[in-house]
């Protein structure tokens, strides 16, 4: 089994706070993993540590057997849509090409234009190419961000709450696109999400996180009442959380 991402005894302190505590897991190549946890559970911190934006305090992360810095070009990242600076004057095609060039484009060559259009077309979004970013809906923006990542043909795709800020129809479509891409290109995908249902239906692995690792393993075994209580409840009381797997399975 080839390992795409190996996390070994990872701990992260930020401003003297223990954000992540002793995480260890191995994600095989080509799998689709969900990171599920409440607000403040360290999901985004883990993503940023994998990206190399935050340094591990203890432990290590290996991407395809190498340190993060050596394999960065193979990792692509879709930030949360809500973080976009909507005052920045730009068109969708420029954002897509920033993935390819790792810089902002001053001018766009015919080849680059063709590549960007082809990628947007695959996501049914070529009509958005010349649109201003601040005129895009959440769902449209998510597709443009995805095109930006996929144009680099990444080995690992990191998604930070891709369904946040977009409507339900777009959400289903974006989830579908990601799952299809994972299937067709054998790309390893890691998605931070609040959405248990999306994690259960689309992903093969799940990491349940609440500063520490509650569960890592196949998604179909992840969402037991006990695991969810341990992930989403405070110490000492369970908030009566139940996943309702039976209803979802029967639906």
């Amino acid at each position: 089994m080839d390992v795409a991402l190996k996390v070994d005894s990872l701990s992260v302190y930020l401003n003297k706070l223990h954000i992540l505590r002793d995480l260890s897991f191995e994600l095989p190549v080509g799998e689709y993993m969900a990171i599920v946890g409440p607000n403040g559970s360290g999901k985004t911190t883990l993503l940023k540590t994998v990206l190399g934006l935050i340094s591990a305090t203890d432990g290590r992360i290996k991407v395809f057997g190498n340190d993060i810095s050596e394999h960065n070009s193979k990792i692509s990242y879709v930030p949360q849509v809500k973080t976009l600076d909507r005052t920045f004057p730009a068109q969708s095609i420029e954002l897509v090409l920033s993935g390819l060039n790792k810089k902002w484009s001053f001018s766009i060559s015919k080849t680059e234009k063709k590549l960007a259009y082809e990628m947007l077309e695959k996501l049914s979004a070529s009509h958005l190419a010349d649109k201003q970013l601040n005129k895009l809906s959440g769902g449209e923006l998510q597709r443009v961000y995805l095109a930006r990542c996929l144009i680099t043909n990444p080995s690992i795709l990191l998604l930070d709450e891709p369904a946040t800020g977009i409507d339900l129809v777009c959400e289903k479509s974006v989830n579908h696109i990601i799952a299809e891409y994972n299937k067709n290109f054998n790309t390893t995908i890691i998605m931070v999400t609040h959405d248990w249902s999306a994690a259960y239906h689309h992903t093969s692995y799940t990491l349940l996180l609440n500063k520490q690792q509650v569960y890592f393993g196949p998604s179909d075994k992840a969402f037991t009442d006990l695991n969810l209580q341990r992930t989403f409840s405070h110490m000492g009381h369970d908030h009566g959380i139940k996943f309702g797997l039976k209803e979802i399975s029967n639906a």
């Binding site: 401003n15 940023k48 990206l51 190399g52 934006l53 810095s69 960065n72 990792i75 990242y77 930030p79 973080t83 976009l84 600076d85 005052t87 920045f88 004057p89 730009a90 068109q91 420029e94 954002l95 920033s98 060039n101 790792k102 810089k103 902002w104 484009s105 001053f106 001018s107 201003q132």
Partner: protein, 269 residues
């Protein structure tokens, strides 16, 4: 009106004005888009301390103001990255220290009024040959960093985290941007004056943001706006015998305000 072009001091002011406004308007797009106009204000006040030191010691105030402003600029980026105090608080503290020092320096010097007045409000009469040379050097360095760093700066301005994730040297680029903005502010003080220099590095970028759909266009519009308003401002300033800085900023503000209103109408209709 054209006969005034025969005066060497007008020629110097025009050349320096065009070159300096090119630099200031270029950095303006980043100052505006990164929402750090308070830094422009902070750097201007830091420059005041340096100018006052130059006047006290009898050196060229530009030469003493550059290190003063650079220290504040570099400290701002450093503390922003390393300290828990927010950037505007840091700038607030640093520029108050600098202004306080400036006031003390000026108080120590006798008969400082005229010189200080020129630096506070800007005067085209004070632009000398050295200033023209300095503005030429600044212009060429700006062209160089434009060619080398525009793509990096634009990317990090759009999304800092994404630029970092793509391994761009974002912090190094921040330092260079801050250093260049600091130097530009100091060099522009002779024409615009300490008090109004913030507007000089904020209005061109803000104006160009109103009418540009791409960051590249925003860059060129800002530079064209800065050059044009500086030329008009210098002529009007000469004709009406008013401080050049105030005239330039008033002209820039009128065009900006007019465009803002037009934009609102266009948007509403």
């Amino acid at each position: 009106m054209l006969e005034m072009l025969q005066f060497p001091f007008i020629q110097r002011a025009l050349v320096a004005g065009i070159l300096i406004s090119t630099s200031a308007s270029f950095y303006s797009i980043f100052v505006v888009q990164r929402r750090i106009s308070y830094i422009g204000s902070g750097l201007a006040h830091a420059a005041f301390g340096g100018v006052a030191l130059g006047l006290l010691l009898g050196f060229s105030p530009v030469l003493t103001a550059i290190p003063f402003t650079l220290i504040v600029g570099i400290l701002t980026v450093y503390l922003q990255e390393k300290s828990k105090i927010s950037a505007d608080s840091i700038i607030g503290i640093l520029y108050s220290i600098s202004v306080a020092l400036g006031i003390i320096f000026l108080a120590l010097k006798e008969n400082y009024t005229a010189d200080a007045y020129n630096y506070l409000f800007g005067s085209i009469l004070t632009v000398n040959t050295d200033d023209v040379y300095i503005s030429i050097v600044l212009f060429f360095i700006t062209v160089f960093v434009f060619l080398m760093l525009w793509k990096n700066w634009a990317y990090a301005t759009f999304d800092r985290e994404m630029a970092k994730a793509d391994r761009l040297p974002v912090l190094r680029d921040d330092y260079i941007l801050m250093i260049m903005t600091s130097i530009t502010i100091v060099v522009a003080i002779k024409i615009v004056g300490v008090i109004l220099i913030t507007a000089y590095v904020v209005i061109p970028g803000s104006f160009s943001r109103l009418i540009s759909n791409k960051f590249r266009d925003m860059t060129f519009v800002s530079i064209a706006f800065g050059i044009l308003t500086s030329i008009i401002g210098l002529f009007v300033s000469y004709e009406l015998d008013l401080p050049s800085g105030a005239v330039i900023i008033v002209i820039q503000s009128i065009i900006f305000g007019f465009t803002l209103v037009l934009n609102k109408f266009r948007f509403n209709s």
